[in-house]
């Protein structure tokens, strides 16, 4: 046959098929390779921009975090906060509800903690103060999450966009409150600086030890909740298919609202422990963008608690490390953490593809033979 038809025989070089079974070493292998590649790319970045030896930079990041107890403890403190929010998101993500509003839910929790500290601090015993702070923070976060959940359940209102918008409403509310409280001062300062009412007591030398313990307990609870409770089972079914959920007699709307109440409440707890254990005050920056970072953590950890801890630790380690290197090298600054984090996230996100799919080369022989025989 003529050459003109041969030119028509144009086959895709490769095509993509879904992997039917993924072995553990494959999925972890892909992720570890991704992180190593990201570190290499980051190394080139550091080297080309600053001329520093990336290995030295990584070394300082490492020693900076692990050599001093204080650095290590503050690392743990931040890991706890990030993990706490990630834990909050896991049940929502499990039922395929995109809660992008953790930032706002944390802020509302923090704000209400501060309100209780300001208005009840010193007036009631500290144990009841903590209990009220805890409950009110939970309620505030839960409310903030339940509003979008209600509309999603009722009218399928897009929850990604709704929860995203709720963040900024929360930020504004917090700004208004702090502006009112600070009066003419430039910042609010610490709440109850003299009485220390509503401040976690120091345990092992740090106030945030209690925060860490609370998150540890939450991690265990969420792990059990997701994998061993009836509610957790309902979430898994709902996340897979709404039809199956209805078939199994699961009240879809109820589960959506109930789960988001819980998700928001845990975000509220994150706000509470930040106010009572770390900041002793509130501002619109209290959540530190962790509400967004946690989304990435939870998703990339595949909603598994131990991996969420790992991801949280990695990201906080990078952040802490970056501040270490910025004080060690004048040519690097705090923001390098965001660059390094971004690149690592891109690589991990990309690696998921190679876990889920495989590239298959076309078998060419049969097609060739046919073309010649004509």
């Amino acid at each position: 046959m003529s050459n003109s038809t041969r030119t028509q025989v144009r086959e895709p070089f490769m095509h993509i098929t879904k992997r039917t079974d993924v072995k553990l070493w494959q999925s972890w292998g892909a992720r570890i390779i991704a992180i190593i590649l990201a570190l290499v790319v980051n190394g080139f970045f550091i080297d080309s921009v600053t001329g520093l030896n990336p290995v030295d930079v990584y070394k300082i990041m490492w020693t900076g975090t692990f050599e001093s107890t204080y650095n290590f403890m503050t690392t743990l403190r931040d890991v706890a906060m990030l993990l706490c929010i990630s834990l909050a998101l896991a049940p929502a993500f499990k039922m395929r509800f995109w809660n992008i509003g953790a930032e706002g839910q944390v802020l509302m929790g923090a704000l209400l903690s501060a309100v209780v500290m300001i208005y009840l601090g010193g007036k009631i015993p500290s144990s009841s103060l903590f209990i009220i702070m805890f409950i009110v923070s939970c309620a505030a976060g839960a409310l903030w999450a339940a509003i979008p959940a209600y509309f999603r359940a009722k009218w399928k209102t897009n929850e990604t966009l709704f929860t995203l918008m709720m963040n900024y409403v929360a930020i504004d509310i917090v700004d208004v409150c702090t502006n009112t409280w600070r009066g003419s001062k430039s910042s609010m300062g610490q709440i109850n600086a003299h009485t220390k009412a509503g401040w976690f007591p120091k345990v092992l030398g740090y106030r945030f030890t209690i925060s860490i313990l609370i998150v540890l307990a939450l991690a265990i609870i969420i792990e059990l909740y997701l994998n061993h409770s009836k509610h957790g089972y309902e979430l898994s079914v709902l996340g897979e298919s709404e039809d199956t959920a209805r078939y199994a007699g699961i009240n879809v709307q109820k589960v959506i609202v109930r789960t988001m109440l819980m998700s928001g409440a845990i975000c509220g707890i994150a706000g509470f422990i930040t106010v009572a254990g770390t900041d002793m005050t509130v501002s619109s920056a209290t959540a530190r963008g962790f509400g967004f970072t946690a989304i990435i953590v939870t998703w990339l950890a595949g909603l598994k608690t131990p991996y969420m801890f790992g991801m949280s630790f990695l990201l906080i380690f990078l952040e802490k490390g970056a501040s270490q290197i910025s004080s060690a090298y004048s040519s690097l600054n705090d923001y390098s953490t965001q660059v390094i984090t971004g690149i690592i996230l891109f690589f991990i996100l990309g690696s998921e593809f190679f876990v889920k799919y495989k590239l298959v080369r076309r078998k060419k022989e049969t097609a060739k033979k046919g073309g010649d025989s004509k």
Partner: protein, 520 residues
């Protein structure tokens, strides 16, 4: 005709086409020729690979192996655009239309005409096609405002508008009324006289007889052979479609002291598009018997079962459950949980096994507890009993699986169905609803399912069996409710009725009417 074909170069020639999805071989070295000026019926049961084969011709899938020739030259069809360029147009069973666009916009979508986008000119051209062929459609209506048959009209016009000369219609009559079917067939004949090659994917034999020139048969992904329609018979085609001549030999014990269990009265259901899915359907399902539901696909079977199971919103009518002590419970307005809280043990094997009956990503144990996970007083799930049940089902029904923690989506269709049926039977139901319980199953698995149904029947369970294979319905059931276009078109005694009677009632309402496929 046959000798004529041998001389001509086929418009399309597919050779050794193989396509696999995971471990499922959808097409196994299939070869097929289609000529111009010919209507070819591509016949096969559900899951025989008809649609997959045509999707490869229309560029939607890419074959793993094999060759395709258009007018004698080998081609590669990496995507639908290339297929369209070669004059291949496909009307899919699930409409490929964009809801928020108008008919015209959908029809011109993807065209690479020169100049600016002139929708008015396109609408004029569409109106011309409409008058030529007798379609009735408003080019400026949005798709989401259209009925199902209007949407199909848009799909067909889309292909005509593009001047395709090789047309593939995937089960085009499934959503049409008999009158609409007749009209469609007239159009198809016109296209044939224009010298187009037309392929109709179908499993309705009467339509094949009525409209096609030649029929090619697929079975389980393999090409069986082709026949000239006028030289063949429904019997011969059936034999090719199902393989050997079917002597089913299914046991049918006599009903055990049947008494009314589910009483359905005047059940009416309309879907969200306002289409009547069930129209005043009434029947009674007795305990200790198997009640068959026959009907061409989409006649309301799904809605009927889901209405009984509490998964379907009902417009009017009543569904009563009658307990052994004679008390009545109204099931309408209750969800599955409320029904089970009434003490009604109702099992349901839905058509969509992995989309409704089971969770594909969960393992066998976790799927066992889908309907029973609420058992126990604590907030925690008990996995011991489900694991035991899983082991039991796997052993008793011979499920082939590496272990109990394998996600069920990795299992073959037959094994998936065994797990589903096994679970539903394990809850000692008083009513067992099943939809296409043996679809896609190998013969041994199918017989196992029949046996299980019979065991349940002998245990006094009221079984509602929705099936598509008439031989099975006639051999297995005690009585058969025939659905036709959403209404009950007779309740027949399966022991005395004939296949012809059931087939006729499936396609022809009791009132005399001219029906597309029934006039031979």
């Amino acid at each position: 005709m046959e000798s004529q074909n041998e001389k001509r170069v086929p418009a399309v020639s597919m050779r050794n086409i193989t396509k696999t999805f995971g471990s499922v071989v959808a097409n196994d070295h299939v070869g097929l020729d289609i000529y111009r000026g010919e209507i070819l019926a591509l016949l096969g049961e559900n899951g025989s690979g008809k649609t997959t084969l045509m999707n490869m011709l229309s560029g939607l899938y890419y074959p793993d192996e094999g060759q395709i020739f258009i007018d004698g030259s080998e081609v590669s069809i990496p995507n639908p655009r290339v297929a369209l360029g070669m004059g291949i147009g496909m009307v899919h069973q699930h409409f490929k239309l964009v809801d928020v666009l108008t008919a015209t916009e959908n029809i011109v979508l993807g065209l690479k005409d020169k100049g600016r986008l002139d929708l008015d000119a396109a609408a004029v051209k569409i109106r011309k096609i409409c008058t030529d062929y007798g379609f009735d459609i408003d080019p400026h209506r949005k798709i989401y405002d259209m009925s199902v048959s209007e949407k199909q009209t848009v799909e067909i016009i889309k292909v005509l508008y593009r001047g395709a000369d090789i047309l593939i219609l995937d089960e085009p009559t499934a959503v049409l009324t008999p009158q609409e079917t007749t009209r469609l067939f007239d159009i198809i004949r016109n296209m044939k006289s224009d010298g187009k090659a037309i392929i109709i994917i179908t499993h309705k034999l009467q339509e094949v007889m009525h409209v096609s020139d030649r029929v090619a048969v697929l079975r389980k992904g393999a090409y069986i052979g082709d026949l000239v329609t006028k030289n063949t018979s429904i019997q011969e085609m059936t034999d090719m479609m199902v393989g050997h001549k079917v002597n089913l030999n299914i046991d049918r014990p006599d009903p055990v002291s049947p008494s009314p269990r589910i009483v359905v009265k005047d059940l009416t259901v309309t879907d969200k598009d306002g289409l009547v899915k069930l129209d005043h359907v009434s029947f009674t399902a007795n305990s200790g018997e198997i009640l068959g539901i026959a009907g061409i696909s989409g006649s309301g079977q799904k809605e009927l079962l889901e209405a009984i199971a509490g998964l379907q919103t009902v417009d009017s009518g009543s569904i009563e459950y009658i307990e052994d002590n004679g008390s009545h419970d109204q099931l309408i307005g209750k969800d599955p949980l409320a029904i089970s809280n009434l003490g009604v043990s109702l099992s349901f094997v839905p058509e969509d096994r992995l989309g409704m009956g089971l969770v594909g990503n969960m393992d066998i144990t976790d799927n066992m507890m889908l309907r029973s996970f609420r058992n126990g007083k604590t907030v925690f799930t008990d996995r011991k009993a489900p694991r035991k049940l899983a082991g039991h089902v796997v052993k008793k029904l011979g499920v082939v699986t590496p272990d109990l923690s394998t996600p069920v989506r990795k299992l073959s269709g037959g094994n998936v169905q065994k797990i589903l049926v096994g679970r539903e039977i394990a809850s000692t139901p008083t009513v067992l609803l099943s939809a296409y319980a043996v679809r896609g199953l190998d013969i041994n698995s199918a017989y196992l399912i029949y046996d299980l149904m019979n065991q349940q029947k002998e245990a006094g369970v009221s079984i509602v069996y929705v099936g598509e294979d008439l031989d099975v319905l006639l051999a297995l059931c005690d009585r058969i409710v025939v659905l036709c276009g959403g209404s009950c078109n007779g309740i027949l005694d399966a022991r005395t009725t004939t296949k012809e009677e059931v087939g006729l009632r499936m396609t022809t309402k009791k009132e005399p009417a001219s029906v597309g496929g029934s006039d031979e």
